[in-house]
C-alpha cells in the first residue's frame, strides 16, 4: 500500500498517474491524498509532486504500454478534479489501469460501467455547481477611495472547488469593473489587469448589503405571478441551500403566503366596462388596414 500526495490539480494527478502506471502500481494498492505535504514523510515516501507542473516541461512517455485515452476522457478528468470528495483521483486511476493493463478500453464508452457512471455523476454535479455559481453570485457595490473604478464584492459558497475554473467567465463578463468573489475555499480578485487568488475567508468579510437590493426585490415581487404558484419547480432549480445568500429570497415566504388572497382579490373584482375609443390618427390608420385585410 502506498500513499501518494498530490496537489489537487489535473496536471499533478496525471503526472503521478503516469509514473504509477509505469511502475505497474495496482490501483488497489494506492491511496491518493491531497491533504497537506506531511503525509508522505509519515509513510516514508518523498514522491510528492510539489513543483508546479505548469513550469516544468512535460515528461515524454518512456514506455509504450501507456494507454491512449480519447479526448472526452481527458475532459472528464479535468472537470472531476474539482470534486470536493477527493475520491475522483483513485477512480480515474482505476479507469486508466483497466484500460492499460486489463484490455478494457470498452469501459470508457460504457455508460453502464459503475466507475464511469460515478465519474459522470461527479461531472454533472460539478457542471451544475459551476452553472449555479454563475447564476447566484450577487455582487454588492463597495466604495473604494484608492481607485476611480466601480468596485464590487460577492460572497458565494460553492459545493465543489470551482473558483478557479469559473474565473474566466466572470473576468470576461465583468472586465470593466473591479470585483472580488469571496468563498470559504479561496477568493478571487480582478482589478482590471490581473486576476489574483487569496485564501478562503469567513462570510463576515463580505459586505452585507447594497442599495439596489430594494429595487431588485421590488422587481422580483412584481414579476411573480401569484395565479400560478409552483413551489417545487422553483426549488428544484433554486434549492433552499442557496437562499441565504440571495437578497431576493427573503421575500419568498411572504409571496407564497399572500398569493391566494391576491388571486381571490382579482377574481372577485367586477368586470370593467369598455371605454370609448380615443381619437387617434394611428388607430384610424389601423382600422383602414384591417378593412383592407378583410377585403382581400
Amino acid at each position: 500500500m502506498r500513499t501518494v500526495t498530490i496537489e489537487p490539480t489535473f496536471r499533478a494527478w496525471r503526472s503521478k498517474a503516469r509514473s504509477l502506471l509505469d511502475q505497474k502500481m495496482h490501483p488497489n494498492d494506492v491511496i491518493w491524498s491531497t491533504q497537506g505535504d506531511d503525509s508522505d514523510e509519515l509513510f516514508g515516501f518523498s514522491e510528492t509532486t510539489k513543483q508546479t507542473p505548469e513550469n516544468k516541461p512535460e515528461q515524454k512517455p518512456q514506455t509504450s504500454n501507456r494507454a491512449k485515452v480519447p479526448p472526452f476522457f481527458i475532459q472528464l478528468a479535468q472537470t472531476v478534479c474539482c470534486h470536493r470528495s477527493q475520491k475522483q483521483w483513485s477512480m480515474l486511476y482505476h479507469i486508466l489501469w483497466s484500460v492499460t493493463y486489463e484490455q478494457e478500453r470498452e469501459i470508457l464508452f460504457d455508460q453502464t460501467n459503475d466507475t464511469m457512471r460515478k465519474l459522470e455523476q461527479m461531472r454533472k454535479s460539478i457542471s451544475r455547481d459551476i452553472h449555479k455559481m454563475r447564476a447566484f453570485v450577487r455582487f454588492r457595490e463597495i466604495q473604494v477611495e484608492t481607485n476611480d473604478r466601480e468596485n464590487y464584492v460577492a460572497w458565494f459558497e460553492p459545493e465543489h472547488l470551482i473558483v478557479r475554473v469559473n474565473t474566466p467567465f466572470f473576468r470576461k463578463r465583468f472586465a470593466g469593473m473591479n470585483w472580488s468573489i469571496l468563498t470559504p475555499d479561496e477568493c478571487v480578485h480582478w482589478d482590471g489587469t490581473d486576476i489574483s487568488y487569496t485564501q478562503g475567508v469567513d462570510k463576515s468579510q463580505a459586505p452585507d448589503g447594497d442599495e439596489l437590493e430594494e429595487l431588485w426585490r421590488g422587481y422580483y415581487r412584481s414579476i411573480f405571478n401569484p395565479a400560478r404558484v409552483k413551489i417545487k419547480m422553483m426549488q428544484s432549480e433554486m434549492p433552499k441551500k442557496y437562499w441565504k445568500n440571495l437578497p431576493e429570497a427573503e421575500i419568498i415566504e411572504d409571496l407564497i403566503q399572500t398569493s391566494t388572497d391576491k388571486v381571490n382579490g382579482m377574481m372577485e373584482e367586477e368586470n370593467r366596462p369598455l371605454k370609448p375609443e380615443p381619437k387617434n390618427k394611428y388607430l384610424d390608420h389601423l382600422k383602414q388596414l384591417n378593412n383592407s385585410e378583410d377585403s382581400k
Binding site: F139, E141, N225, R272, K281, Y282
Partner: protein, 437 residues
C-alpha cells in the same frame, strides 16, 4: 412616483410574457475592458420566483400606457390600472445596475403602444441603442417588435437585439377580432417574414466575410425570433394552437413558441371574464411542441379530427402510442433512432444512449435501469434481451387507465400547487429546467 413604484408597475405589466430565453446568440464579451457583459453559450437563469419561472432578463415595459384594447391584457386602454412611464435613460440605468450585480443576463423590453407603432418602436430602439453604443453593453437584449412598425425600424431594432419577438397572441384571426381588435395575424406573419429574411441575410453576409477573411466589420442582427400565444382566452382548440406553431416554426424558423395560460389579471374586461389558468393544458401544449421540435413528430400526429384537444390526463407521446398500438412493441436493440423517439417514457438523450450502447452489447433491462429510464411507462412498448411485454397487455384497454391519474387529481384549484405525476418524467424534467417547458 419613485423608481421603485415605476418598476413595480412596469414589471407587473410585463410578467404575462413567458419568454425568458437568453441562450443561442452570438458570442460577445467585454474582456477588452470596455463596457460590461457577455453572451453566448447556455443562457443563465439568475433566480426563480415561486411560480416556478426563471428570472433571466429584466423584463419590463417602457410604458404601460396603451392605445390598444386587447381584452386579455392588463394594460389595455379600458383598464383602470395605474400607469407609469420609464424614460429610456431610466431603463438603461436599471439594466446596467442589475447586470453589474449579476442579477440578470440582460434586458427584455416591451411597451404599450403610444401615439403610433413607429413612435413606440423608436423609443424602444433608443434604449437598446444607448445600451449598445454608449455603454458598450454586451449582455442579452430581447426587443418586442410591433408588426405595424416600418421595416426600417424593425431592421434597426434587430441591429441591437439578440432576439426579436412579435406575439401572435391567438392562433386565429377570428380570435383576434373578438379579443384584440387592433391586432392582425397576417400583418404579424408579414413582419415575422421580414425579420426571418433579415436574419438569413445577415448570417449569409457574416459567413462570406468570414470566409474571405475580410476586415470589413461584420453586420449584426438578432439571431432569432420567438412568439407567444395565450391559451384559454378564446375558443381555439389545441390543434389550432399547434398548427399555428407548426406554421411559424416551418415558415419563419422561430426559435420558440411560448404558450401562456390565460391567468387572472387585475381589472378584468367585461368581454373576457376571469377563470383559473389552464396550467395543465399549457403544459401539454409545451410537451406537444417539444415532440414537434425534438422528437420528429408531425403536427398532424398530435391531435385527431375527433379529438382536436390534447388529452389532459396523459402526455401527448403516450397518447399517440395508445392510438397507434400496432407500432409496438419496438425492439430497442434493432429499431431506428427515430422509432425509439416514439417510445413513451424514453427521452431523446436516452434514445441516443441506447443506440450508442447497443453497438457494444445487446441492451438489457439492467442497462435501462442504470440509464434511469422510466420503466413503468416504457416497458409495455418495448422489447429488449430480457424483456418482452405480454401481447395482451399492449392490446388491453386497461393500458390507458394504468397511466391516467386518478380522477381527484384533476380537480385543480387554480391556486393549488401543480404536482406533476412522476410518470410524465421527461416532460416534467424539461419543464423544471426551463421555467416553462
Amino acid at each position: 412616483m419613485n423608481k421603485l413604484q415605476k418598476l413595480e408597475i412596469l414589471a407587473d405589466a410585463a410578467k404575462y410574457d413567458a419568454s425568458c430565453a437568453s441562450s443561442g446568440t452570438t458570442r460577445k464579451d467585454s474582456s477588452s475592458g470596455k463596457g460590461v457583459g457577455s453572451t453566448g453559450g447556455a443562457g443563465i437563469c439568475h433566480s426563480y420566483t415561486p411560480d416556478g419561472r426563471c428570472i433571466s432578463l429584466l423584463k419590463v415595459l417602457l410604458t404601460n400606457v396603451c392605445l390598444y384594447d386587447c381584452h386579455y391584457c392588463i394594460n389595455r386602454r379600458s383598464s383602470n390600472v395605474r400607469r407609469a412611464r420609464f424614460t429610456p435613460e431610466e431603463v438603461v440605468d436599471l439594466t446596467l445596475s442589475f447586470y453589474k450585480r449579476n442579477y440578470i443576463e440582460g434586458l427584455f423590453l416591451s411597451s404599450g403602444i403610444v401615439r403610433s407603432a413607429d413612435y413606440t418602436m423608436e423609443l424602444v430602439i433608443k434604449v437598446a441603442k444607448s445600451l449598445r453604443e454608449e455603454h458598450h453593453f454586451r449582455g442579452y437584449i430581447h426587443l418586442k417588435t410591433i408588426p405595424e412598425a416600418s421595416p426600417e425600424l424593425i431592421a434597426e431594432a434587430g441591429k441591437y437585439a439578440d432576439r426579436l419577438s412579435i406575439n401572435v397572441e391567438l392562433p386565429t384571426q377570428e380570435g383576434l377580432q373578438e379579443l384584440a381588435p387592433e391586432k392582425n395575424v397576417h400583418r404579424t406573419r408579414d413582419a415575422m417574414s421580414t425579420i426571418h429574411s433579415k436574419i438569413l441575410e445577415t448570417k449569409a453576409t457574416r459567413k462570406e466575410l468570414k470566409k474571405a477573411n475580410s476586415r470589413v466589420k461584420k453586420p449584426t442582427y438578432a439571431s432569432g425570433q420567438s412568439t407567444q400565444m395565450i391559451v384559454g382566452a378564446d375558443q381555439s382548440n389545441d390543434s389550432q394552437f399547434l398548427n399555428r406553431a407548426g406554421d411559424l416554426y416551418g415558415n419563419f424558423k422561430l426559435r420558440r413558441v411560448y404558450y401562456s395560460a390565460f391567468s387572472p389579471i387585475p381589472e378584468p374586461s367585461v368581454i373576457l371574464p376571469l377563470k383559473s389558468p389552464p396550467l395543465i393544458r399549457e403544459h401539454r401544449l409545451y410537451q406537444a411542441d417539444w415532440l414537434m421540435r425534438f422528437y420528429k413528430f408531425d403536427v398532424n400526429e398530435l391531435t385527431t379530427e375527433q379529438a382536436p384537444n390534447l388529452d389532459l390526463d396523459i402526455d401527448p407521446k403516450l397518447a399517440w402510442a395508445l392510438r397507434n398500438r400496432s407500432f409496438f412493441p419496438l425492439d430497442i436493440n434493432r429499431a431506428a433512432l427515430e422509432m425509439l423517439y416514439r417510445i413513451p417514457g424514453l427521452g431523446v438523450r436516452n434514445a441516443q444512449r441506447i443506440v450508442a450502447l447497443r453497438r457494444h452489447h445487446a441492451v438489457r433491462l439492467e442497462d435501462l435501469i442504470k440509464l434511469r429510464v422510466n420503466l413503468k411507462k416504457t416497458l409495455p412498448f418495448m422489447i429488449c434481451v430480457n424483456h418482452n411485454p405480454a401481447k395482451h397487455e399492449l392490446d388491453s384497454e386497461a393500458l390507458r387507465a394504468k397511466f391516467a391519474p386518478p380522477p381527484e387529481q384533476l380537480e385543480l384549484d387554480f391556486t393549488a400547487q401543480i404536482i406533476i405525476p412522476k410518470t410524465t418524467s421527461i416532460a416534467a424534467q424539461a419543464e423544471a429546467k426551463h421555467g416553462e417547458f
